[in-house]
């Protein structure tokens, strides 16, 4: 009897302990690469406190870096970079990549944990409003010294809280081989002889519509890739394309943010949007099923001649099995919408990638994080990663003109940026009120495309949505 009782007690105790330990353990999941790994391994399941203490101790000595990456397409690339950093400097580094479209959620939950990210991305002024309590002042830091255009950073009062680390551009990517084929046709409807001579919406429209009429001769299914509108796949329109009318409205009013918009350039938006949906390989009623990857695949397989996307799209074109498009034929064209004087318009160039150092972590970790940034953007190895697998264009003085990624879209992008006669369109969608606004705008566009909503209603509802979402922020 007694033995039985003892056994019961023991078993229960075991169960209880293993359970409690199991619960406690989840907090330290996936930490520590080299030094701490043995520690975590031995402590498994029985000695949680010792484990924690060990972690704290090593923290006190050297500091660790924990980077929360927001580009899901670059997850293994960032991990490789981190490993190289650890190897060179001996500072431990961990990278966690948020799933596509879930960065804000991940950040929100990771920052609630004890072991917070030491480095994280925010997407601009709006993101800064959410996370300002967690952003450290970087004013005196070396990395800020390196920033070429100081006003690109996000500052408030005297402090500088977020620093852009990658400049990107988007526009209309076109396949020059198909364009050349078109311009060689004897019965083409336009005078020009090269895609680069397209300098305004009028010409673009004439070329595109004529190409659609001759698509069988050109061997394409449509001029533009599918206007992707599957759930969560509409950012090329509700964010990127929407940037243009807002950019011009801000420019006219001389502001960088508005509580209410007139959407005065809505007709220009409609111009280009109609051109996309009516000259696409996918008919307007079917766009609700298409995603970005499919659209890019159509371009890569030479089923279409043009597609709106950014320099990051090269990876999607290049990686596709059975891609036909040649590297030297992948080129950029600015998004023309019929605004007066747009002959001088360049690509939409800006950044959504701001890096922040967490203000609520230990000084050692902050130091380690800053060291990582200096290594990445200052050392030869770090820079080779930027130009290599990460394919970034950091706006820092440490990079000379020769040190840039070799992909064709980046080359085009730099050519546009260096052309003094052109003005780049800045990224103003970082001031869009919220993700909710973008989603709502996207859903109006989808309904318009499917023929369930008039354009005037789209304009009215968009203005309304902007006003509502902005007022929620100020509340």
């Amino acid at each position: 009897m007694i033995r039985k009782k003892l056994l019961t007690c023991c078993l229960t105790a075991c169960l209880a302990v293993s359970m409690l330990a199991g619960c406690g353990n989840t907090g330290s999941e996936g930490t520590a690469q080299d030094g701490g790994a043995a520690d975590a391994g031995s402590g498994e399941g029985q000695n949680q406190t010792a484990n924690d203490a060990g972690a704290a101790e090593s923290q006190g000595e050297s500091g660790k870096v924990y980077f929360l990456n927001f580009k899901s397409e670059l997850s293994s690339e960032w991990e490789e970079t981190a490993a190289a950093f650890t190897e060179e400097t001996g500072i431990e580094m961990k990278v966690v990549t948020a799933g596509s479209g879930t960065y804000e959620q991940t950040l929100k939950s990771e920052l609630s944990k004890k072991e917070m990210p030491t480095l994280f991305n925010i997407n601009g002024p709006i993101g800064y409003q959410t996370w300002k309590d967690y952003c450290m002042d970087l004013k005196g830091s070396e990395i800020y010294d390196w920033l070429v255009e100081k006003d690109m950073a996000i500052s408030e009062g005297d402090g500088v809280y977020a620093i852009p680390y990658a400049v990107e551009s988007y526009g209309i990517i076109y396949n020059d081989a198909i364009m050349k084929k078109y311009f060689a046709l004897p019965d083409k409807a336009v005078e020009i002889n090269d895609a680069k001579e397209i300098r305004n919406f009028e010409t673009l429209k004439a070329v595109v519509e004529d190409m659609t009429a001759k698509k069988d001769v050109l061997g394409i299914e449509g001029v533009f890739g599918s206007t992707s509108f599957a759930p969560g796949e509409d950012w090329r329109w509700q964010t990127h394309l929407a940037n243009l009318p807002i950019y011009y409205e801000y420019r006219d009013k001389g502001v960088s943010d508005l509580q209410e918009i007139d959407f005065s350039y809505n007709q220009n938006f409609k111009n280009i949007f109609d051109l996309y949906i009516n000259n696409s390989c996918t008919e307007p009623t079917m766009v609700g099923a298409k995603n970005v990857e499919e659209s890019m695949a159509e371009f890569a397989a030479e089923k279409v001649a043009m597609i709106q996307n950014g320099n990051w799209g090269w990876a999607m074109i290049y990686d596709l099995d059975g891609n036909k498009v040649q590297e030297e034929n992948v080129k950029f064209l600015p998004v023309y919408t019929g605004v007066e004087g747009e002959e001088q318009q360049g690509l939409c160039t800006g950044t959504e990638n701001y890096i922040c150092v967490n203000s609520k972590i230990s000084a050692a970790d902050q130091k380690a994080s800053l060291e990582f940034l200096l290594w990445l953007f200052g050392s030869d190895t770090g820079k080779s990663y930027c130009n290599g697998i990460l394919g970034m264009i950091p706006p820092f003085s440490t990079f000379s003109d020769g040190e840039r990624p070799g992909n064709p879209l980046v080359k085009e992008m730099l050519a546009y940026m260096n052309d003094g006669s052109l003005t780049s369109v800045s990224w103003n969608f970082t001031s869009f009120p919220s993700q909710e606004f973008k989603n709502q705008f996207g859903s109006y566009l989808l309904e318009y495309t499917q023929g369930n909503m008039e354009w005037d209603a789209v304009v009215e509802q968009t203005k309304e949505s902007w006003r509502n979402e902005k007022s929620l922020i100020s509340e």
Binding site: A289, Q450, L472
Partner: protein, 280 residues
């Protein structure tokens, strides 16, 4: 042994209690507390009283998604239970191949909702392509798409519960009824149905709560498109929590309201069906 259990009660109950407290009670209380605060991460909350609730009820998306959820639940409960019962009835009578069919019908339940959502998105878009339209062209497509997918997923599970119930009906009772000369329909209506009331209670409870709480399928299949017309209440909560700055507390308040609605409905349902249960 009994005595030993009683004596060591506190130790024996500890694992379950700890699990319950950690996984349920603490998050629940914290959740209610957060619904009265303004916060970006759960660690930096600031008390603002009932303001979140006021905003939640002013939000017309919340109310329309609530209505949509109720509509979905009603349709779903009827179709799932009818189909599951019909299948259970068939598969508990015949001998040949019943195991095979039971397994096949149960299988979809093992798939996760997100995967299932994407699979059905492809299937439905494929079918709708013949009509030159897509799933997000109108709310009706999304609604029926979700009903079909949810049915496909849940019928198998409910069927198993019904089969267990039907097999539990004693042969003696059925034989006695047969000797009294009941028709097949009478057998079903007067003998089997009353005797499987416990199964019905469980199935009703599970279909109601699962339809009401359905999230993953909704997110993967339509994500609320077009507009917000196919957004279930859980998706609306999720969107208000994550897509708007400073709206986290409102999302939390909506979640608390959602909890009370769901609790009220399922408790009422349990009481109603329990009353009809009879001893076998």
């Amino acid at each position: 042994m009994q005595k030993a259990f009683r004596k060591n009660f506190s130790i024996l109950v500890l694992p379950t209690l700890a699990a319950y407290v950690i996984a349920f009670l603490i998050p629940f209380v914290l959740g209610i507390y957060l619904s009265f605060t303004k916060f970006t991460t759960v660690t930096d909350a600031r008390w603002i009283g009932l303001k979140n609730y006021a905003m939640a009820f002013r939000d017309k998306d919340f109310l329309s998604s609530l209505f949509f959820t109720v509509k979905f639940t009603v349709v779903n409960v009827v179709t799932v239970n009818l189909a599951a019962f019909a299948l259970a009835n068939v598969l508990s009578q015949t001998e040949k191949g019943t195991n095979f069919f039971r397994t096949v019908i149960f299988m979809p339940n093992l798939l996760g909702g997100i995967v299932l959502g994407y699979i059905w998105q492809v299937i439905i878009n494929g079918v709708l392509a013949f009509a030159r339209t897509t799933l997000t062209a109108g709310a009706k497509y999304g609604f029926w798409g979700m009903v079909v997918a949810m049915n496909w997923q849940m019928i198998g599970y409910m069927m198993i519960i019904y089969i267990a119930g039907i097999q539990n009906v004693s042969e003696d009772v059925k034989e006695a009824a047969m000797i009294d000369g009941v028709s097949k329909f009478q057998m079903l209506r007067k003998i089997i149905l009353p005797l499987i009331m416990p199964s019905i209670t469980i199935c009703m409870f599970m279909t109601i709560t699962n339809s009401f709480k359905m999230f993953d399928l909704n997110l993967a299949l339509t994500a609320g498109l077009p507009g917000k017309s196919t957004s279930m209440i859980t998706l609306d909560i999720y969107n208000s929590f994550y897509n708007r700055m400073g709206y986290e507390g409102v999302g939390q308040a909506k979640a608390v309201v959602f909890f009370f609605i769901l609790a009220a409905i399922s408790v009422t349902q349990l009481m109603l069906t329990r009353k009809r249960e009879v001893e076998n």
